[in-house]
Symmetry: D2
Subunit: 265 residues, 4 copies
């Protein structure tokens, strides 16, 4: 039997890809969309979608939930509305899969409680790229045996911050299990400042920025006579869709809130 889905944020860049994914997947059915405009229209009536997409759009979530029996609610909007949507969905016993970030600890506790009461699964995932999640998970596992590790992340030259959020997150996860240690030779010297990269508790992180790159990261572990490397290359947003698919399937079997895809894989 197909899983009936309501999607919030169909016109965003992620949302657009999600519409394609859900409507292409045989076991999924897109029953309605939530948007802050275009109430009463269908997706097919909007310019960017193909004409035959007869999925109704709602601006009011309660109305939407009353009209449509849904199993899962996928939210690809922004934190401000994401929290309210998630809460409402759970109240209607619809399982949320939420890609927005920035929830406060309080909001998370409240949603956790609510999911438990309603006995409904709820997944909140700041990152849907399964490959990136596995890279982080494996890195944490490897750090137990290889305390010497450096990260190099490579992105297009329009990126503003260095290191990337994923690199920092990876380093934090490694720190949880790695015995603290200053790497490199105790007397090593930078003849050009910055050569050894950013220092994060003795680990080093390097950020490369070049046109032609998209989003890449390598985590390199070194031991006597060997290195182990875990790397992830992301080409485009399609990489998030496999993660959303996985979440929609898994949320059906949950009866509580899970934060982070890493706790499901």
């Amino acid at each position: 039997m197909a899983i009936n889905i309501i999607l919030a944020g169909p016109r965003g860049r992620m949302g657009y890809e999600a519409v394609q994914m859900i409507t292409n997947e045989e076991s999924f059915r897109l029953v309605a969309c939530l948007d802050h405009k275009h109430d009463g229209l269908t997706l097919g009536e909007l310019e960017q979608f193909r004409d035959d997409l007869q999925v109704p759009i709602y601006t009011d979530f309660d109305t939407c939930l009353k009209q449509h029996q849904a199993d899962v609610f996928v939210d690809l909007t922004i934190p401000e509305v994401g929290y309210k949507h998630t809460k409402t969905a759970l109240q209607y016993k619809v399982r949320p899969v939420v890609g927005t970030t920035g929830f406060t600890d309080e909001q998370l506790s409240e949603l956790k409680e609510l999911a438990k009461e309603q006995k409904r699964g709820c997944i909140i995932a700041p990152n849907f790229a399964i490959g990136a999640i596995l890279m982080m998970k494996f890195s944490k596992m490897a750090a137990k045996y290889f305390p010497d590790v450096e990260i190099i992340e490579k992105h297009h030259d329009q990126k503003l911050d260095a290191p990337s959020g994923t690199a920092k997150k990876t380093a934090e996860l490694i720190q949880d299990v790695r015995e603290s240690k200053k790497q490199g030779h105790p007397n090593e010297e930078e003849t050009l400042p910055g050569a050894r990269g950013a220092d994060m508790n003795g680990m080093r992180i390097h950020s490369m920025r070049l046109p032609g790159l998209v989003a890449h990261q390598e985590v390199i572990f070194g031991g006597a006579g060997q290195t182990l490397t875990i790397s992830h290359d992301s080409m485009n947003r399609a990489s998030f869709m496999d993660g959303i698919k996985e979440c929609v399937n898994q949320v059906m079997d949950l009866e509580e809130l899970v934060y982070g895809l890493e706790n499901l894989l």
Copy 2:
């Protein structure tokens, strides 16, 4: 308190490295060696070791075990004698860590039984390179989410067999979890035979052989818009020593036989 170790095969290439590792490790103590010659001499009296290594050599294992109270027995010899050594060690309630391969199923069952009876740990590991073991472990985990995968292994050009044992082992592990699938385009065509590599249930394995290479493997998983790569580079036998060290430490806490380092990490 230090762990007292008896080592079999100190003059082999692995054994030689193991002598260095054990004697350099603060928490380990090399109390005796087992060898098929040089009975009554010490390691220091042999040409290849440094003069001050006053570790006695025995050709008879019973005599050795009666003379020295040991916690762990490390065997880096050959299968024919490895089995007998392992059995004898367990009978003396000394925990074996065995790097030789080629035990029969019968021998393994017998040793398993014996370890249980004696309530002593026993580790038999065909491969001590922790990095390679983790690469295989992670590959098996990733295959659950990424059924499309190819392996490329790269070795020096004196290697006789292709693909390598590690590549085949990795592919087998992946097969355990991967839904069977013929990869690539259904109509793909090799205009030069062999271009697409070896086929193992729809997965592809490629073997590169060049001077200047040592022992390397990449396992590449592909999904929509992303790839995840796990790779291991081995430079020399030093890469096995971390694995032996790990086993010596872990065998102390076991009360049964474990086959394969992958079941300990």
Copy 3:
């Protein structure tokens, strides 16, 4: 002073990118387009271009050349018409930069002769990706010192042929300078057929196909104690635009026909 350009094939995938590149480049001016339909319209009147692109479209090349003083003619159409266009452009003393392939030897000789007579540059380039061209050029140079070489090319799993055209071309260039040699151990054995890849005069070529890959190639040279690797990663058609730009600039200084971007870099 700006270089005035006529472009043939503006509605193709390459042509579309070329329109963006030419109109964004300060030193270039797109004065007209040649198309097999839409005569009399402007690019801005076609759906896919932005409205303010007031570049006139012609279906007849002679009319176009009489109306517009052009320095360079960029042809991104198909071989059948590409030859005629190139000839006509030279007759009007306009320098062709041609990305179509498949010219016969006779046609090339004739165009070569004509370019000389008219004292006008003409560039015919089957591949505009400067990175790929340099990879091939460097590979040819390196092969003189490193006769042991293997190629691995990686593409998305919708690609039909293996190995790729670029891999074959690279191997051919290497062959021109490499002393013939069967690589690998003389007694090496494939325990799974195809593991060692395709054999091209003793060199080996491996083709990987996975979702998530785009178009990648590595050429790996091995010598005693070292390897040298030249690799190219192509993400999208934007990679061809730098090559077209380079050709437009260089063709201005030529007085003859040059075949292949590799002879200009």
Copy 4:
């Protein structure tokens, strides 16, 4: 006919490898060695060489050159004596191949003059690894077309300086042809200092240090939609022998001093 060679510094680490290489090469003949001790002995009489190496050792170079007709003199000593050796060799019309560095400009001028007068080739090469030399040469060539470039060099964690000499040399060669340019986004921000690596005229250099690494460098060029990567991996000193071999062969055909292997390849 074989090339007769005198080698200075046979007991050093490079010298030891050179003895093996020269005596294994059919077209080379090692006629004598220069050393600061062991005058009158043969290599075979020293502990580290195999017994049958009947190559006489001299401490006085003039005596050596008078006794032995040599074509080429290979110097693998230190700068202080290297200069004198080179001069003496040229005076005897023997062609020097010198691996020591640190000659002053004056010394180089003088040797240059002398080589010309004597009509004898002379090669002074700070780096004999052909792969590293080609990496630098190709990088300089590529930088003309791809002004956006970053270097990442990776070494074992016993290395003291960062970046490596080769990385700096590569950056300098690139600078010779690259239009000056600050790379990355104009507003990019390091949230952890050092993440973006060392800045060398707008180019970025990153230094990784881990156990298990040996000596590796990648030069990555980025353009619209593509990257071109040139990388060199060095495993051990054997990598220098191919370069010495090449120099011995090429110096026979020279009649002047050449500085740097890059000017011969």
